[in-house]
Amino acid sequence: MTSDQLLDVKGLACPIPIIRTKKKMNDLAEGQVLEIHATDKGAKADLAAWAKSSGHELITQTEEGHVLKFWTIKG
């Protein structure tokens, strides 16, 4: 999956992953894709819910070992 920007929030606990994601999304243009790498398990449900409530789209997520990867399109 291709992305326009990568955000690494591995090792950071809630609420930092979402705060950083939100900030990074502000720098993107509509339709661009942000890839996020996190390790906080809470990010799974929170990122999905956050994307929905803020008008972005979480297109896919994977788990590679302990690393959670997310791809979101700016809405």
């Binding site: 809630c14 609420p15 809470g42």
Partner: protein, 375 residues
């Protein structure tokens, strides 16, 4: 600006004391729907923290000024953030220290009563998960029944009361929480007892709980008598302590009965469940104090925060004991059951010794309510 924490213990006391509290839960909606903190005097509201990152102004009008305000999240990080924002906006608030994780792990000891030979029986209420465990003490010795994995709580409590834990037992192989039984037995040198029919696949040595056996605690004649009572699991065992107390495990609760499906055997075990409840339990003394391994609602809790009821009263009031038609009973306990507990299959594997996850993973597995009952 720093905000003050409220511990899980302080929160427990407030809930039991019915102190008015406004609880702002900032977890995502799905998690809150699945599992939240409840109390008779609690008014709650859910606004996810990620919807408050731009400010809390819109929230202020919803926050009452006549009661204490507590912000809650999964692990505490987000609740501190929101609590600080609210505090800066002039609203005095506290956050729950350790979040739902700490809430899930807190055990509150409550004395149930005295034993005839001078001993005492304590119930450990795990408010966050609705799990109940027990310590029976007499003449310097103690037994722990259905221990949670936070074993240091029992060890400290025993030390404080000058007793040493000599026996640890589980009424059955648990599916909703990780048993601390084996660990506690190892830490204290106590014997660990399990019902053999639930323990066929366990990977460690244990003592076999068998019907009619007596386990003596202390020098006084305080016996724990295991009674084979299958239904929730095939090996489920009840204990009669001091001919006063009936520890019913996950067979009979205050306002519900045990579900037989968590080991994948609902159809096979439904008759056992019925026989245990409708024949064995009905034959016991009506004066027995029933002490279950779980509670599901705050209505099941007594004024002092304990969870028990006399068997005679339970037989009158518990809906699950009044289904005369066998087919209706079968239908109720095998169809339309509530959602199964989070990670229950993995939890069973851990309790059999087949999986050995770290503490963090154990916490993740135990997230959520217990859901062992059918109403």
């Amino acid at each position: 600006m720093t905000v003050k924490a409220m511990t899980a213990e302080q929160l427990t006391k407030k809930i039991v004391g019915k102190e008015p509290l406004f609880l702002l839960d900032v977890r995502n909606q799905a998690d809150v729907q699945d599992w939240k903190i409840e109390g008779e005097a609690i008014v709650d509201m859910n606004v996810p923290y990620f919807d408050l990152l731009d400010g809390v102004e819109g929230l202020l009008q919803h926050i009452p000024s006549d009661r204490e305000v507590l912000v809650v999240c999964a692990k505490e990080g987000s609740s501190i953030l929101v609590a600080e924002m609210l505090s800066e906006a002039g609203v005095p608030v506290r956050y729950l220290q350790g979040g739902m994780k700490a809430w899930s792990e807190h055990l509150e000891p409550v004395k149930i009563g005295d034993l005839s030979g001078g001993g005492e029986l304590y119930q450990f209420v795990r408010m966050g998960k609705g799990c109940l465990s027990y310590m029976i003490m007499s003449n310097g010795e103690a037994a722990v029944v259905d221990a949670a994995r936070m074993t240091e709580v029992y060890i400290d409590f025993a030390k404080k009361h000058n007793v040493s834990v000599t026996h640890v037992m589980d009424t059955h192989l648990h599916a909703d929480h990780i048993s601390g039984g084996k660990k506690l037995a190892e830490q204290t040198g106590a014997a660990y007892w399990l019902p053999p029919k639930d323990a066929e696949e366990v990977t460690f040595e244990y003592e076999r709980l068998e019907e009619g056996q007596r386990i003596t605690i202390g020098t006084a004649s305080i016996d724990i008598q295991p009674i084979y009572s299958p239904g929730h699991t095939i090996g489920s065992t009840s204990f009669i302590v001091d001919n006063q107390y009936l520890l019913s495990g996950d067979i009979l609760f205050i306002d519900s009965i045990g579900r037989p499906d968590l080991a994948g055997m609902a159809e096979d075990w439904v008759d056992d469940l019925r026989e245990t409840l409708y024949e064995r339990y009905m034959a016991f003394s009506k004066e027995y104090i029933v002490l279950p391994a779980h509670f599901m609602t705050k209505e099941e809790m007594n004024e002092d925060g304990s969870v028990w009821k006399e068997l005679g009263l339970l037989l009158k009031e518990n809906h699950g004991l009044h289904i005369q038609d066998q087919h209706v009973f079968r239908k109720m306990v095998t169809e339309g059951l509530p959602a199964q507990p989070h990670a229950f299959q993995e939890i069973r594997q851990v309790n059999m010794g087949k999986l050995n996850p770290g503490v963090e993973e154990q916490r993740e597995m135990e997230i959520g309510p217990n859901r062992c009952a059918i109403r």
